[in-house]
Amino acid sequence: MSHHIVEVRNLQHVYPDGTIAIKDVSFRITHGESVAIIGANGAGKSTLLQHLNGCLTATSGEIRIGDTPLSKGTLPDIRRTVGMVFQNPDDQLFMPTVFEDVAFGPLNLGLSGSEVDQRVSDALDRVGAGHLRAKPPYHLSGGEKKRVAIATVLAMSPDILVMDEPTSGLDPFARRQLMSLLREFRHTKIFTSHDLDMVLDLCQRTIILHEGAIMADGPTVDIFRNDALLAACRLEKPFSMQGCPNCGNNFDRKPEASTDRNIFHVDTCIRMNESGSR
């Protein structure tokens, strides 16, 4: 399934005011990979993502989705393949009701009425927002908006899912729900995020952007163990790797270790401490 491959070669983007946002970025993401693009504010993450479905045009360099180079002629096909969830759901929801908003993409794909109905219901059910279908988007809470925004993209059945800050602004429960939803999505996934614990849980591979250039590209766990690299890129370890706040011991973070185990450690540690002081 070669159309699930994302290849970026020597990408450069200069904004009209002369700011160089992306400098010579190259990477290749293969089918089924889940990749996080992380970096400090202003590192160029969102700019990079917006190139992947042609929202921004590269100053130089090349992007290929599968075997297709991204160009004006191939844009409609590429936009069908690459589903993009924007950072702010308010920018994504513009129709009078949730239903119409989710139906917008499938109708543009030229699907028939019953098929559109089916796709909309499926997408809304997948994000647990079936009950919101008749509501106008601005009546929703932040988390609901985010879920509906994701449904608008799922309804188009993209092969590659690109999300800008998927967990920002969500409450802890909604964040967990979203994470398990994303884990189920079997195709290629590309995220940008400041939620490094989510990155640790969902992405096997991480790319660090710093001032528009790639500073590191490798297995997520290795990258998060490299303190010097993280500090140089204005990043910190995820909380679950920062060690127990009570005893200061480092957690033995293995890729398969769960956050729950660390929470259990902190819990017992604090309890032992309390019983000791008594």
């Binding site: 543009n108 009425g113 008749a134 601005y138 188009m156």
Partner: protein
Amino acid sequence: MKSITAAVMDLNRLEQLADSDSPIHFLDARAKVLVTCVFVVSVVSFNRYELARLLPFFIFPAVMIALAGLPPLYLARKIALISPFVLMVGLFNPVFDRAQLYQIGQMGISGGWISLVSLFIRSLLTVGAAFILVGTTGFTAVCQALERLGIPQIFAVQLLFLHRYIFVLADETGRASRARELRSCGRKGLGVGSFGSLVGHLLLRTWQRAERIHAAMLARGFVGRFHAHRQSRFGASELCFLLGWSLLFIALRTFDFSGALGALVAGIVP
């Protein structure tokens, strides 16, 4: 701030009304657009002192509201919002047009007053018809119908974007004016000066936001066409609806039914 948000919600309610299931809602949008056009042209083409012959036209909004199950009070409130502007347009009619047309007892009524009332009734009818059209069809479908009736696509899409832009603009205005209100501590802030820059910022912000929304639309396969979810075709019921109402409006415009009825009643009751 509150009033802006409330106004947007109110406007959106009109859109939501279009989602109901009534025989009128299921008609093809083109039939409704054409009937509304014939209605508006018939109403506005009367001479400016006409009163009695306008009244039978109220049958159209009455029947449509009843059949489509629209909330009459809500529509009345919407129309009432427009009426100050109408009154402003006709404000000077009674001042400049003092020729006496009718006499009731000792009181003479000038042509200016008659034309003002006529203008007001016309506005009720035409604005009401427009609201009924959007409330039974939805703005997207109206724009689509216009396109299918031969208006260039670019105008139809432009009109639709303008409609959506109202929501974006109102949203940003609400936020900006709240920020200003909170920091002006109940006083006037920096007065008119701060409003100048506020409006400038609003333009730039809504512009940027509109660009982001456009990007999101493109990302979901938008190629300059809006698709209405409700598929319909121009069938027999549409033809009956169009011909029935149009013939009635043309008849009401051509023959003086009110006068005839008046003469009839006057003839029976001496």
